[in-house]
Subunit: 150 residues, 2 copies
Amino acid sequence: MKSNAGFLNSQNTHLGNRIFEKMLKDSGIDAFSGAQGRIMYVLWENGTLSVSQVCKLTSLANSTMTVMLDQMEVRGLINRTRNERNRKQILVSLTDTARLYKKEYDYISEKMNNLTYKGFSQEELMMYENMLIRIKKNLEDYIENGENND
Amino acid sequence: MKSNAGFLNSQNTHLGNRIFEKMLKDSGIDAFSGAQGRIMYVLWENGTLSVSQVCKLTSLANSTMTVMLDQMEVRGLINRTRNERNRKQILVSLTDTARLYKKEYDYISEKMNNLTYKGFSQEELMMYENMLIRIKKNLEDYIENGENND
DNA sequence: ATAGTATATTACTAAATAGTAATATTGTCA
DNA sequence: TGACAATATTACTATTTAGTAATATACTAT
C-alpha cells in the first residue's frame, strides 16, 4: 500500500502540538503542559487507575510514564498510592487541584477542535474518529502479536 | 465541537513512531532515524530545497531543523550550499549515500502502511488522506493568521 | 546609502519520549 | 516452599522537538 498519510499525520501532530502548547500558555495555564494534560485527561475520564492502565490509555511507554508521573506528583497534580487489593500496583489519582483545571482544559480543547476540524460536518468528524480508532487497534495489535508474523 | 480525535491522534503518533523506529532498527538501518527519514523523504520527493522550504514541507520548527540538519550533515546524509541566485538561502541536498537508502525506506514505509491501514479500502484510505490534508490546512492557516481573530 | 526585511545560524534552555538493564515488591502456581 | 510472572521504580542514555534572543548575511526598496 502506498500512501503518505503517515507523513501527513506526523505533520499535523507537530503543528497541533505547537498550537495547543501556545493556547495553554496564552490562557495563563502554567500549572501543566499539553503532555501532562493528556495524562490528566484519562484520569478525569476514568478516575483512579494503575500505572500500567494509564500507559495503556495514553499509549505512552512505561519509561515515559514514570518520568511524567514524577513531575506531576511534584507539581501537586497527582497522588500515588499502593493498591491494597493488589499490592503490585500503584494507583494514580488526581489531586483536588488537578480537578479544578478540568473546565479550563475542556474549554481549550474545544477551541482546539473548532480550529482543527473547521469545515468538517458532524458525520465527517465521526468518520475521522472511527478511522483513528481502527488505526489505533491495528497498531496495538501489531505491537502485541503482529511483530513476528510479517 | 466535542471530539477526542486529537487525543486519538496523539496516541496513534506514539504507537506509530515506536513501531517505525523498531522497524528501521530491525532492518539493520542505523544510518538514520525515523525523524531524519521524514526530512530525507521531502528531499527525495522534491530535490534540493532551501532550509525554510524543508521546514515548511516537514512542518518542523526552524530551531528543530537546524539541529536535525547538523546531525544529518555530520552523518553524511545531506549537504548544505549557499544559493548563488539568492545568497540569503542555504540549499539542502541529499548525498549519494542518502539516495541509496530510498528503496529500503520505501519498502519499510510500505510495510508500515500495510499494518497501519489494515482493513481499509482504497477509498477509505483516500478519504482519510483528504481529511488529513484539510486538517493540515486548518492548522497552517491558524498559525499564519488565525491566532488573532478567535 | 541606508533602513528594513528575509534567511539562517548560534547558543542556549527545557520538555517529551523511548530504550535498557538492574532492582524491589508482590502475587501465583506447581 | 520455591520458581516464575507481573508491576513498578531507579538510573541511566539518547533523540526529538520547540522556544528565545542574539548575530550574520544578503536582498529590497526608498
